[in-house]
């Protein structure tokens, strides 16, 4: 084998080893690196009450209730499973927070199963289009949350 090919073979072997190591680490991280739990995850694995976690999903249609004090809101988060989570939050929500769009909430579960959020983030989807099209097609369709 020529020196050049020897070096190439050595590098390719090293590269394969590094890539394999990273892929193994990433697949091990798959569950830990998820940025939030979905209602389906919570129903399946159970999330301890009192520990700070993030949950995410779609804000269910017609579920947003604003309390009389003006800053407390209640809503329900769902996903493609039948499970849902009731959420309460005191504070200002981002502009993109609305029904049928993605949301990520940081906070804790109460004993009763309700999630008390300390921070609300709106999740944006991968669709970009001008407002005029929206009138033609009606409601925007969002793909299921990853």
């Amino acid at each position: 084998m020529k020196r050049k090919n020897q070096r190439l073979a050595l590098l390719l072997a090293a590269a394969a080893a590094v890539v394999a190591a990273v892929l193994l680490a990433m697949s091990a991280l798959k569950d830990q690196a998820a940025y939030f739990y979905t209602p389906g995850d919570v129903a399946r694995q159970g999330v301890p009450t009192g520990r700070a976690v993030r949950i995410g999903g779609m804000v269910q249609t017609g579920s947003i209730r604003r309390a009389a004090d003006g800053v407390t809101i209640d809503f329900v988060v769902g996903d493609e499973t039948p499970h849902t989570i009731p959420v309460r939050y005191r504070g200002i929500v981002p502009d993109l927070f609305k029904e049928k769009s993605g949301v990520v909430a940081e906070g804790r579960f109460e004993a009763g199963g309700r999630f008390v959020a300390t921070e609300i983030l709106a999740k944006h989807d991968e669709n970009y289009r001008p407002p005029v099209l929206d009138a033609n097609t009606g409601e925007h369709k969002s793909r299921s949350l990853k």
Partner: protein
Amino acid sequence: MHAFANPARFLKLARPLTAWLGWGGGLLVALALLDGLVLAPRDYLQGESVRILYVHVPAAWLGMGGWAALAAASLMQLVWRHPLAAIAARAVAVPGAVFTAICLATGSLWGRPTWGTWWQWDGRMTSMLVLLFLYAGWIALAEAERERSGDGRLAAIFGLVGAVNLPVIHYSVLWWRSLHQGQSIGLTGTTIDPAMLWPLLGSALGFTLLFAAVVLMRMRALLARQKVEARLRRLAA
């Protein structure tokens, strides 16, 4: 590629190419940004803040593309010992780091009104920040190695190993649930309206040409510096 092993032949081609790429890229970026920032429609949900897209996405593409080029140059250097490969890698690293920083900054500016936060440690953002740190580490290592008159082999190995971060960035929104949205432009289609897609593609191409022009300029400057240093050494001897 070894036709350009001779720096004189490389310079003969690089000099006019720099001008063409620079002016072409500058013109394209100006047109695309005029379209994107002024003429293109606002988004039905995000409103005007969607216009950050026309800088953010090209910056992300070039930050990642820059490291891909750096890794390719590292491979050329380690396997074929191409005499210009180390120079090319050093020329790419700085603009690559700058575009990665632009990507992070514009993403943060967009995240505040859209998500409601400047920064979150989700998979996409964290892996992109790691890329910026890799660039910083690589530049420091390459400079240190050059000062000790090494041949840049350590930096080349670092460049190849660092490339494993690129698929991690790309797949971060697919492997893990993330705050960052999934990809909008795939092999099979796009979820971006044509009125927004064209200025985006134009600006991506324009910034890429500008990037190439900057890399050629830096390669010429680094070659000139190498020549000056060699001459000074000869005078001192």
